[in-house]
């Protein structure tokens, strides 16, 4: 086993649908894959005490977070029969309706992708030192808390 250096999973700003489509396209040469499963986190325009969320601004303890994502990745490859896995997370401002998290897993068979995707997304939410500031339309803000 070789030791892999953590990759950078962070993308400045929102993750575009073109980027996602292109990422799917690149997997069409991998003909051992039978099933892909993709999770997308989209910024929700929640209504909180009469104020609407206009955007979330993400910051992170980047080095630690990249290590966390790396560990999640290694654990998922260990537990599930996966061919590929990709994780991307936004930093900076992501407006309501835009995508801030893109997790993509592929396997010969569908059982593995369902289990792996949920495992990975829950681990990201629980363990990655990423911080979301919900910015309201009136420019006031509150700090998001994952449930």
């Amino acid at each position: 086993m070789t030791i892999k250096k953590p990759k950078n999973v962070f993308i400045e700003g929102p993750i575009s649908s073109d980027f996602i489509g292109n990422s799917i396209y690149k997997h069409q040469t991998k003909t051992s894959i039978g099933a892909h499963n993709i999770f997308l986190g989209q910024v929700r325009s929640d209504d909180i005490d009469g104020k609407k969320v206009a955007a979330i601004e993400y910051t992170a303890y980047e080095d630690m977070a990249n290590q966390t994502f790396h560990n999640i990745r290694e654990a998922a490859f260990e537990k599930f029969d996966l061919t590929c896995m990709h994780i991307y997370h936004s930093l900076g401002v992501v407006k309501a309706g835009e995508i801030c998290l893109f997790v993509f897993v592929s396997s010969p068979r569908r059982k593995a992708v369902f289990e792996a995707l949920e495992f990975i997304v829950e681990a990201i939410k629980a363990d990655a030192p990423v911080f979301g500031k919900e910015i309201f339309e009136d420019a006031s803000h509150q700090w998001k808390v994952n449930n």
Binding site: V130, F131, V145
Partner: protein, 77 residues
């Protein structure tokens, strides 16, 4: 010992900075925290975890790291 302390999210709002270097004689994380609570009064009302050299640690842990981070509740994704 000279250490770097990093602040994130709502903790950085309290400290009004993202990072600082401090000279400390603290032997455990808890002692360092006492000093920070002195310096930033609002800190004790905040919920956070502590990472030492990018690993989460308990306050009883010995201070050994060059990099300490105060991390509010995670909210990625």
């Amino acid at each position: 010992m000279l250490i770097t302390i990093k602040y994130f999210g709502q903790i950085a709002e309290v400290t009004q900075k993202n990072e600082e270097q401090i000279e400390t004689s603290a032997s455990h994380i808890s002692e360092l925290l006492d000093a920070l609570n002195q310096k930033y009064k609002e800190l004790k009302n905040k919920d956070f975890q502590i990472a030492q050299n990018q690993e989460l640690v308990a306050t009883e842990t010995k201070l050994s790291g060059a990099e300490i981070a105060l991390l509010p509740p995670f909210s990625g994704g």
